[in-house]
Symmetry: D3
Subunit: 306 residues, 6 copies
């Protein structure tokens, strides 16, 4: 790739120009394949906190949109909520790994998710043009929630997704960025696990892909061994793993959401390491085969690279 | 109105039914006059803080929408920002009545405005159905801001309003609720005076009315005397008042925004007392003549009741 | 409702203003419930003859349209036809309560219905703006008729309703006013019972409501006793009554049309006393519970006020 | 045209088939020229009274529509109004050739025009399919009228034409048939000269042609001599004739309406003899050159056949 | 038809004008019947080679379009391909009546069909206005082909028809003219029998009619006897004839395509003699009953003339 | 670019993956800048003849479309016409560098351009999906031509461009490929210089760019010296050069077309060397600055890279 063929040189093109032109051409089949399809991206972890990674994430999402895909960003913000609670002198209480959410905690959670995290994502996307629109699950009734367990307070489950406004924004060329607050029919707000919301939204939109960005390389056979990555797995196999109890607790909502989304019609779910720069582009436009891909049926090697 | 005419009685209708039917009929000319027109409402003061007033505000706004008007809500949230700063142990610094806004203050302001105040308004509106959508001025590039004065930090002026997404949401039957955060072309956020933003948005939308809700009866000839209310005034006269320096400092941004909005094509601006229950309905659907109405030209009595 | 709360007084609002604002607010749930739904109104009796009642009827219908409902007016005009026949020295012949209609009678009927009654209704509605459009069942093939009984001459039955042009006019914001003349496939006109036509049109439009205005309080248990009003009844019970022969002859076409319309999908049929001012508004926007409401299934008290 | 060429004969085609095929082909340039253009037809005289001519008129109008033109029919009905007045024992009073129209006369006129004449035209057109829709100038505010002269009573002038609903019906494939009753802004109806209304509607629709059907061959140089037909004349020349007072009184409203319509942008006005079968088709699809054609500028012979 | 009725004469209309007006009127039912329906015309034989017939064909097709039908022209060009091969000194090789098509022959065929025959048809149609658009089966993927038999080279079968672009052009008022070259999924072109393509396109478009123009009067009972024309036949009877082997070899692809098209939903297929001037108009607009009509079920005489 | 940063390696990404992801990101500003803009490409020279270059050209054009630009391909085919004439034993006659075109030559030219060259381009593009549609200037009246000079025969000038069908095909996601045959109003075809047609089409479409691909590096100061490339030049300067007679004869139509197109509103014209692989991508997506760019006003370095 580093030698410059004669005609390029005559035209004053450098090795870099040559490489770029060739790579662009290689992108074509991937662009064609995903044109007009919805990709839901659950954004979180270091990719959301590290400023450089966040900038790359933003330009990657905008690029997906520019080449004809329809990205939807869903995010939570647990650490940011925790920080704000600490600053406000409010103790966090957890029960089975879930934050017990009283009215004040809900207020803080909502404020941080919608007023800070969501805004930061919209800002960094809109540097590339007025494309991103921040939403919470309460807007235009996107997420109807219900209490998960009275003892957890305002922690909600998704009861229903109304994707109407998301679809409208997509059709107007915009990029929806959704904070995972929902409301029940009385208007009471709930904080809902973002992994779960992302899966439910992807299913309601018939998305082609859902991508979970986190700080692990994917699903590991052995949590301690990062080289034990499982590249591909089917939802029946994952259900077996979920039932067996062998999965790491932190992965369970994500894995459950993946399995549900795929079983409700999303073609592929991907667990990617958000610390890898441009990991979304690598997944979509190259045959790098990084992270873990989850499908309903086994994918035969060679028939389909991504 | 309290006597029941014979035929009503025969039909089992009470005095209340009679009154209701007659009042509905009186509404008709007002409904016809404002059908399809945009009304921007700057929401603030007690009407936003008092829970009962907030509920009434919500049902009033939804009613406007239901009878064919197109309400747009714009809000700030100075007191709520102040509260949060206090809770976080951050001192507020003011200069010429404007909050000096460093990066941390901006972060708090944005979080409170977008994540708390805006959400509360959306919630109370959506009790009536999935109609309200919360936006900040950063979404889809609604407000392009610029620094007002370097010594004030991230306090912004409105440089440009792009009403595209507001218009789209209105045409889909939704009610936009806008928090007054804007961003410059690099994505840097700014906190902007909500009175000013409301006026600029009304002008960009060619609104028929802009309504400012606050905790005073309107523009008073004598600030100390609540009976000195000015019912109607023209923008040339207001410009004279502004130039004379006789206006109360707190009213200046509001008055300036009114004058600018009317001079850029908004038909009427109204300063209303948000502590009066259903004050918006009174203004639009009755000839009560409350608050102060600002127009470009004098309105001849009798030609037009509102 | 007659005391003026403090804040209103301060704002210069009277008891009447207060009452109006509160009543408007009470309307909201009714408006929301019927927004975008079709209401067919069979107009007749005193409400059509008394000029003051006709004006109120007109402003009520326009109000329904303004708050988002889709009214369709259907009318006959027996008394007006009788008057004109008398003026022209033509004897009316009745057979089983139906007017025997020879060619000349048909001509007079059509002329009076389409050229006088329909026009009067359109005129009084259009005082409120260019909204009403007069149609006869012959226009754009709305009603395909067939002879009812050779011995009755040109008295028709409804064979088919083509609601296409009604739907188009509704979608353009107009109010269709339909005279109940139909034609068979050869173009021969027929006069058809207006109660029957109204029901058939309501069924073809999937209307939410059909309202029959006449000069009786509703369906009475005892025709002689106006206090014996039946407030609610189901179509199975009405069918039983129809079969029993206990119903007053004049009510039979109306009742049959109600039963058919409800059984073909119209949610509710109402028999209302058109002599009661604003009786349509009372029915739709209050819980007065006047007249007789006919539904397919019993309505449980408390679940639904209208 | 009566000999059958060899290949036709072999195929079993007769002389009539041959003639038909050739004539169809000759129509093509005329069809192409008028496709999508509006033709207003003022219908009246014997063509409206003679049943055979009325049937031919109907099929001619439907044919225009089928080959892509947009016909609009406007009609009066003076003789029919006179008949009904006689039957009702009401004396007709004329002043300067205009019927003095008191409230009762107006009522009769409206009833006859809208309820009889208009209906008859719609009926005969709709034998060919559900295409025609009867309208009066009051529907959806088509004609805003004003009193012509207090001493004439409810005889109106056209103040304004709102062609919106006509345009909508045309775009839905329908044929509007308009009775020339208008209303002023208070809803008061007026009877208006149909020739005048036809011209005003043609001008408001930017019609390509307006055709007046009456019982004379066209404009005659000498009213007594039917062979003195003027084939073509310009509006400046007609204005001279109108000013000179040499025109027959009965022709003046028609001629004035023609001149006004052409001067406001209608390309051509035609005065045709409605007693000639299919005279509209002859005018549009052949070079017969019958009747009188009125244009703004002289038409050079040979450049344009119709 | 040759005598001129009195009123015509008075208006200066000749016998020819009279005949024309009457014939136009007779067309009306045929126009109404076929309005908006698709007619696929397989164009070929002398009608394509004889300049006078070609001109008539063009004006007939444009006339169909003008009166509201949607014609689609499909053509081959065997003789023209043969001529060009001869001029280029390339020997034609036939196998079972099909041209063995090597790469060079394909190149010549494509060039002649798309570059000459198609262009000539578009040119002669566009003399009447910018309506015709030439297409080959390769454009926008209209025809997906596959090899018919390896020993025939690039002779293709139709595997799939994608009528999308044809439908779009029709909806924009254009007349598609299609050369019967297809391509397989690798882009390799194939020459395909035009009779077959026409049938497949008609089926994919749900055409009302497919018309085959050739140099024989239709389907003959006895090929030697042109008076043995079969006027009507059903597809079951034709299948029997195809199975019996009694049909002339040259007719087999045409007959097979007719049978397939009718059995896949095209209402009627017609075999017409293209040497008869205006034969398409005769078939569609008269009851001449020329050529052979193929339907699925027998057509009862008298119920339907064409 | 060849070192793999740590996080990539962990994720199993190679240097090539890294390079690809980064290059994709660099494309973003270029994609954003040209989204939705029309680029007319005059295709010719070696890039059309060399199979490998033709394939690259095709995938480049499809890529432009995929990332949101609207490419239109215009082509001639002089050498291919010459070849076919030679094969048919027809002598080419040139006069002032233009092919004297008698009827037979026109026939051959049209056949080769539309039936061979145009088809080959459509084929190679449609390997990527059913996107390309071949057109000649005669289709739907795109190019109205007129004779250039009687002594040249059927060599035409562009008199008018009607871009309607091009715009429609673009809006349906298709890629128009246009052969430069036009017709005059009588339907007579003409062969027109493809450089001229490309410029006229670009002007009629308000294209953002017109790109001329040929076998020279661009405009050279000294035709003999390929290193004397002029990188940028304004149309006033080019007009001076054209007037001075110093330009190479073969370049004159191209240069004139460029100047005309830019002066009629096309933003930029580019003369590129079609022998350079992916030269279109290099021009649009990199800052290589190859070939000659022609603008109306001088472009200041640094403000704009392409």
């Amino acid at each position: 790739m580093t030698e410059v063929p004669a005609p390029y040189e005559a035209a004053g093109a450098t090795a870099e120009h040559v490489a770029k032109a060739e790579l662009l051409t290689e992108m074509l089949p991937y662009i064609q394949r995903f044109a007009g399809q919805i990709v839901v991206i659950k954004y979180g972890g270091n990719a959301m906190i590290d400023a450089a990674l966040a900038k790359q994430f933003a330009s990657d999402v905008v690029l997906l949109r520019q080449v004809g895909m329809l990205p939807v960003v869903v995010h939570g913000g647990g650490p940011q909520i925790g920080d704000m609670m600490k600053r406000l002198g409010k103790d966090a209480v957890f029960q089975d790994g879930l934050r017990v959410t009283d009215a004040e905690t809900l207020d803080i959670a909502r404020m941080v998710l919608v007023g800070k995290v969501n805004r930061d994502i919209v800002s960094v996307l809109n540097v590339h043009g007025p494309r991103a629109v921040g939403l919470s699950g309460q807007d235009a009734g996107i997420i109807t929630a219900e209490a998960r367990d009275p003892s957890l307070g305002f922690v909600g489950n998704v009861r229903h997704v109304n994707p109407m406004i998301i679809t409208q924004l997509l059709s107007e060329g915009l990029i929806p960025v959704i904070a995972t607050i929902g409301a029940d029919t009385t208007g009471q707000a709930y904080n809902i696990n973002a992994d779960t919301v992302a899966g439910a939204i992807a299913a309601s939109l018939n998305a082609a892909k859902i991508i979970y960005l986190s700080d692990v390389p994917g699903l590991l056979r052995d949590v301690e061994d990062p080289t034990s990555l499982i590249n591909r797995i089917t939802t029946p196999d994952l259900r077996t793993k979920l039932a067996s109890g062998e999965l790491d607790g932190g992965m369970i909502p994500k894995i459950t959401a993946c399995v549900d989304a795929v079983d409700e019609g999303v073609e592929r779910a991907h667990l990617l390491d958000g610390r890898v720069p441009h990991v979304i582009l690598l997944e979509i436009f190259t045959n790098a085969g990084i992270g873990t891909m989850i499908t309903h049926d086994p994918v035969v090697d060679g028939t389909d690279a991504t």
